[in-house]
């Protein structure tokens, strides 16, 4: 007798895709990349249908995959930038045209100047509302490291918000 899938991927996809894309966009800051990240996360789960046997753990699994894949995407982006033309000529997406209030924009720009681990901790804590223990499990670090990283990240964020905008931070913003 054929085994039933451990979790229903289409159901997961319908239920969590938007939330995961929103999580990813806070990590990579453009919707196209965020969608790719989430697709990769679901593709990883599709390749390993037995990876998660408990459906209640599927979202946590996908969240880990999104964070890991977003980090890889940023790494690839850094590498690619060395060989890319200085201006992005692709047309704006509808989402790109939406306006973020200046007060929020300042925070988001500063957020993207932080180290990836710091950004991840802040996003998981202040947007995903995860506990320290959940963040520790998601990022595979200790609770103490979560606490110290969050503390340092807030200091760095505040500092970055008061720093003059540099060409590189504008590039991040795009």
């Amino acid at each position: 007798m054929a085994m039933e899938p451990a979790v229903d991927i289409t159901e997961l996809y319908a239920a969590h895709r938007l939330a995961l894309v929103r999580l990813a966009v806070l990590l990579v800051d453009d919707v196209a990349s965020a969608e790719d990240v989430v697709q990769d996360a679901f593709a990883a789960l599709a390749r390993r249908p037995d990876a998660v046997r408990d459906p209640s753990k599927a979202l946590a699994y996908l969240r880990v995959a999104v964070v890991n894949t977003a980090r890889s995407a940023l790494r690839r982006r850094r590498t690619a930038r060395a060989y890319s033309p200085p201006h992005d000529l692709s047309p704006p997406t509808p989402e790109d045209s939406a306006v973020l209030a200046e007060e929020h924009r300042e925070v988001i720009v500063a957020l993207h100047t932080l180290a990836p681990r710091q950004r991840e901790v802040l996003v998981l804590r202040y947007w995903s509302d995860l506990s320290e223990a959940e963040i520790a499990r998601t990022l595979d670090i200790s609770r103490g490291t979560v606490k110290s990283t969050a503390s340092r990240a807030l200091v760095a964020l505040e500092r970055a918000m008061h720093a003059p905008v540099t060409p590189s931070s504008r590039e991040e913003e795009r």
């Binding site: 895709r17 806070l26 790719d36 697709q39 007060e103 988001i108």
Partner: protein, 469 residues
């Protein structure tokens, strides 16, 4: 919960900004991939099964697009719940033990008698083949074997045995050496006797069970990168590993770390499924020789930036430098004054000092250069002046600086030489914090500053008042 004094406003602002940014992503803006058909948790009829399967294929077909040519998703995704053990192939019965290898002796089957495990090397031109682990189990008299890849077949020997699954027998621990790692790197390999085979345990989070320095993504600059320090060790038959909480600058063959660092530590246990997992966590203050629990002190030790070497000589002064390359120095009055160096090898070097009222430290700036004569020069009439002179054959050369840090001494950038010979510059940051840097010679004519930590001062004009922030 706030983690930083004065941060609640920032935390609230961050929370609102993140929500606002996330809310800009609307469902209707996403590529139209979502399923349009409600999907049930069970498949009631073959027709529904087929229809739903088509939806799954449609979704996954698009999901899988674009994956090729990049990092595979399953390489960055978390591991499955149940990692698979790899059983060893029965190869290498005729391989020979390397002359420098030592058999291991440990109680693999828990009967109180130690088995002898021989390490037979696969013959290859570069001595980089596999190693057959071979023993006779004392309780059964049968041969057991395993296969290890250790990077080299030369000089195989075992580390301390452990009882990672707490069942009273011992597991064999070998190690993979990474000769390319600064300060030594690599990781342990644990072999458990399972069903007559020496099977290598699968490590659930292998990045936490390594030794050496692991770079922080995106931290590399021309002259240094930031690294976390990892280690593993054995304690009364258990395996522990650690990772430094802070990252430290590594570059120019140097690692800038305080003598004692704070680390997260984990004890590793072997499960029935053959997977090695970290099961206990601790905070340790790790010194160069020993470690102790953090207790209430989880903050890092201050970098070595004091005491200040305050003694200098001016025109008419003379000093002896007798550590390493021995030489004497005198400052001859004149306009400009001249530094005269007489080395123990009979060489005499003369150098015109390019500043009025020059003061030459009687401590050598060994952090910059110690393979010959070197000097830290300041000026009594120009407090901002700072310069390093190094021996270049039969002359002295003033080093240029490279990088973002300026070699000067003013209200926001303080520079001094420590009694230990470290040339330190502290640059003021926000909220009274200062970032400390230590200078290193990075080419024949240049020196660069490597970050050594963030500190605060009760009185920024007096480095002796340094404290944690």
């Amino acid at each position: 919960m706030s983690t930083t004094p004065g941060a609640p406003d920032l935390e609230a602002r961050l929370r609102v900004a993140l929500a606002a940014r996330a809310d800009l992503v609307r469902g209707e803006d996403l590529a139209p991939l979502a399923t349009a058909t409600p999907v049930r948790r069970r498949w009631p009829t073959p027709w529904v099964l087929l229809a739903a399967a088509a939806v799954v294929l449609l979704v996954l077909g698009v999901v899988l697009q674009g994956v090729g040519g990049r990092t595979r998703s399953d390489e960055v995704a978390p591991e499955p719940d149940a990692p698979q053990l790899e059983l060893p192939a029965d190869v290498g019965r005729d391989w020979k033990a390397d002359d420098l290898s030592s058999p291991a002796r440990l109680d693999l089957d828990g009967d109180g008698r130690k088995e002898r495990v021989d390490f037979l090397a696969e013959p290859t031109e570069d001595f980089d083949g596999r190693v057959r682990l071979q023993t006779t189990v004392s309780t059964t008299g049968e041969q057991a074997y395993g296969i290890a890849e250790l990077g080299t077949t030369i000089g195989t020997s075992a580390l301390d045995p452990i009882d990672a699954d707490g069942d009273g027998d011992q597991e064999l621990v070998l190690y993979f050496d990474d000769p390319s790692a600064v300060g030594g790197g690599g990781y342990p390999l644990v072999f458990d006797l399972r069903d007559g085979l020496l099977v290598r345990a699968v490590v659930e989070d292998p990045e936490l069970l390594v030794r050496g320095s692991v770079p922080v993504d995106g931290s590399a600059t021309e002259h240094f990168r930031m690294v976390h320090l990892h280690d593993y060790w054995f304690e009364q038959g258990t395996l522990w590993s650690s990772r430094s909480v802070n990252a430290y600058a590594e570059g120019n063959m140097t690692l800038l770390r305080p003598e004692t660092i704070v680390v997260d530590a984990w004890r590793w246990a072997l499960g029935d499924d053959g997977v090695l997992r970290h099961v206990e966590e601790a905070c340790l203050r790790q010194g160069l020789e020993a470690s102790q629990p953090c207790g209430n002190d989880t903050e890092n030790e201050l970098p070595s930036i004091v005491p200040v070497a305050g003694e200098t000589i001016g025109a008419g002064g003379r000093a002896v430098f007798d550590v390493g390359y021995r030489y004497t120095v005198s400052v001859e009055a004149g306009d400009p004054a001249t530094l005269v160096v007489r080395g123990e090898d009979g060489r005499t070097l003369r150098h015109d000092l390019a500043v009025a009222d020059a003061r030459v430290s009687t401590t050598q700036p060994t952090s910059v250069m110690s393979d010959g004569a070197s000097f830290y020069v300041t000026s009594a009439s120009d407090p901002s002046y700072a310069q390093v002179l190094v021996q270049d054959g039969d002359r002295l050369r003033a080093l240029d600086t490279t990088g973002d840090v300026e070699l000067t001494d003013d209200a926001t950038t303080r520079t001094w030489l420590t009694a230990g010979g470290a040339l330190v510059t502290a640059v003021a940051e926000e909220e009274g914090a200062w970032r400390a840097w230590q200078w290193q010679m990075v080419s024949g004519a240049e020196m660069a500053a490597l970050p050594s930590g963030t500190v605060c001062f009760d009185d920024p004009s007096d480095p002796a008042t340094v404290r944690r922030c």
